[in-house]
Amino acid sequence: MVSLLDIIGPVMVGPSSSHTAGACRLGLLARALAGGTPQSGLLQLHGSFARTGEGHGTDKALVAGLLGFRPDDERIREALQIAEREGLSYRFEKTTIADAAHPNTVRISVELDGNSATMLGSSLGAGRILVQEIDGYPVEVTGNFHTIVLVAEDRKGSIARITGILAEHDINIATLKLTRKEKGGDAFMVIECDESPDRAAGRELKALDWVRWTRRLDKVSGG
């Protein structure tokens, strides 16, 4: 469903809603996966991102997202210089991810204090984005919701426990998706929430001994 506020917006630094605003949002989600400004970032650009990215400031916008700047932040223009000052070491590569991949696709690998994460995402136009893969798990993250991602041992009752914790913190779940690479292997959960999960909820999830890793991805788009 199209929202009137998607049409009159977003407020953004130009020149392209797909190559600049969408790229910045993908960077913001990669930053959230790292848990803060990463110390290093590898950005592999595919298709139109690789071909016309420089002229659209796609490189600046991606790095700006890693630094935590939102699409309307004028510091996007100086993001590459600011990254050097903030100790973010970044590297761009042009690549072909898959022939069928969306033309505006990037794989971002980030590292912070020994923790690393990799995501694959596309900018779909008008600033809308879709993350299709996190650490090799197939996902669908739009950034339109406050999202919790977590990796847990594949065990019975895990979903009930997790949704119970969220309910205790008065957080309503919009969507929940569970994937795993093989039976008995780790489960990857993507939980889109109507409310922003508070830190206490995050701490309780992290404290479960069968949860290996969890991150909160704040909403980066949508009305």
């Binding site: 469903m1 199209v2 929202s3 009137l4 506020l5 998607d6 049409i7 009159i8 917006g9 977003p10 407020v11 953004m12 630094v13 130009g14 020149p15 392209s16 809603s17 797909s18 600049t20 605003a21 139109s48 071909r51 016309t52 420089e54 002229g55 659209h56 400031g57 490189d59 600046k60 309307d72 004028e74 996007i76 223009r77 590459l80 033309p103 136009g125 008008a126 600033g127 009305g223």
Partner: protein
């Protein structure tokens, strides 16, 4: 949100209200916000639009490639043309200004997209200034424009990569024409004719930016798109009607977009981008961008 302008026009007429009001009511229903909250968001968008116009008409802006910039200021300081001292010319200056700010990585409102971001603010703020229209009415105009854009997104496309420039500056011109027609006192039915009269004039327009950059001809397309919107507004307010219903005009825009060769859909493979000079300029300027970033 509505999927046909005809439905929104019928609701507005039967309730004796404006398209802006039915659009705000529909958005409130969809997203659980009050019309006042939606108006507040649109008011913030209007502030950004005005600030981009100021920046673009007074500042010395160049795009990353240096291909565009400074032309809004040039038009503003000239009195050579036949439109001097008219709101028409003021609208053209504003459209160039916003798009130059966009190309220089300034802050704009993508409405509906960044590439077509100049038309709507140019028409609404330019005509509001000429006629002394209140900000509240301009915000209503943004709501009406949003409704029109949502219908275009639903039935056709708002992406140059999918539908060519007719889906970006063409859609922007349709949105601006409908919104301004209502802002200047037109009826809901006249709004529909303004959109149809405008978008019939941009059907088939290709998206052919040099080097794939949102610069040339995008900056000038926002000015010429605004001119077509002004023609649509002038005709619709005089009571001129367009025989093909507006939703059918929008549908055929989508159909033409789907039939359009990929060379004419933002890939820089055809049109102005593929002319000998277009290719040469793109090559030189892309090289320059790489050097200046290094």
């Amino acid at each position: 949100m509505y999927k046909a302008l005809a439905d929104a026009i019928r609701d507005a007429e039967s309730q004796g209200t404006s398209l802006a009001e039915v659009a705000l009511a529909a958005e409130a229903r969809d997203n659980g916000r009050t019309p006042a909250e939606i108006r507040a968001v649109l008011m913030r968008a209007l502030v950004v639009m005005r600030s981009a116009i100021d920046q673009g008409t007074t500042g010395d802006l160049r795009s990353a490639s240096g291909l565009v910039g400074g032309d809004a200021a040039k038009l503003r300081s000239s009195t050579a043309g036949p439109l001097a001292e008219t709101p028409f010319r003021d609208v053209l200056i504003r459209a160039l200004a916003v798009q130059e700010v966009n190309a220089a990585m300034g802050v704009i409102v993508a409405a509906p997209t960044a590439g077509g971001a100049g038309v709507l603010p140019a028409i609404l703020t330019g005509l509001a200034k000429a006629r002394g229209v209140s900000d509240e009415k301009v915000v209503d105009g943004l709501a009406t424009a949003g409704l029109i854009g949502a219908v275009v997104a639903e039935r056709a496309s708002l992406s140059g990569a999918e539908g060519g420039c007719q889906a970006e500056t063409g859609a922007a011109a349709g949105m601006a024409a409908g919104a301004a027609t209502e802002m200047l006192g037109g009826t809901p039915s006249q709004v529909g004719h303004a959109v149809a009269l405008t978008m019939q004039g941009t059907l088939g327009l290709v998206c052919d930016p040099l080097g794939g950059l949102v610069e040339l001809p995008c900056v000038f397309r926002n000015a010429t798109g605004s001119a077509i919107a002004l023609a649509g507004i002038e005709m619709a307010l005089a009571g001129i009607t367009f025989a093909i219903p507006v939703d059918e005009v929008i549908d055929v825009m989508g159909e033409i977009g789907r039939e359009m060769d990929v060379r004419y859909r933002e890939t820089a493979g055809g049109g102005l981008a593929a002319t000998p000079t277009g290719r040469k300029l793109a090559k030189e300027r892309l090289y320059q961008i790489k050097r200046s970033d290094a």
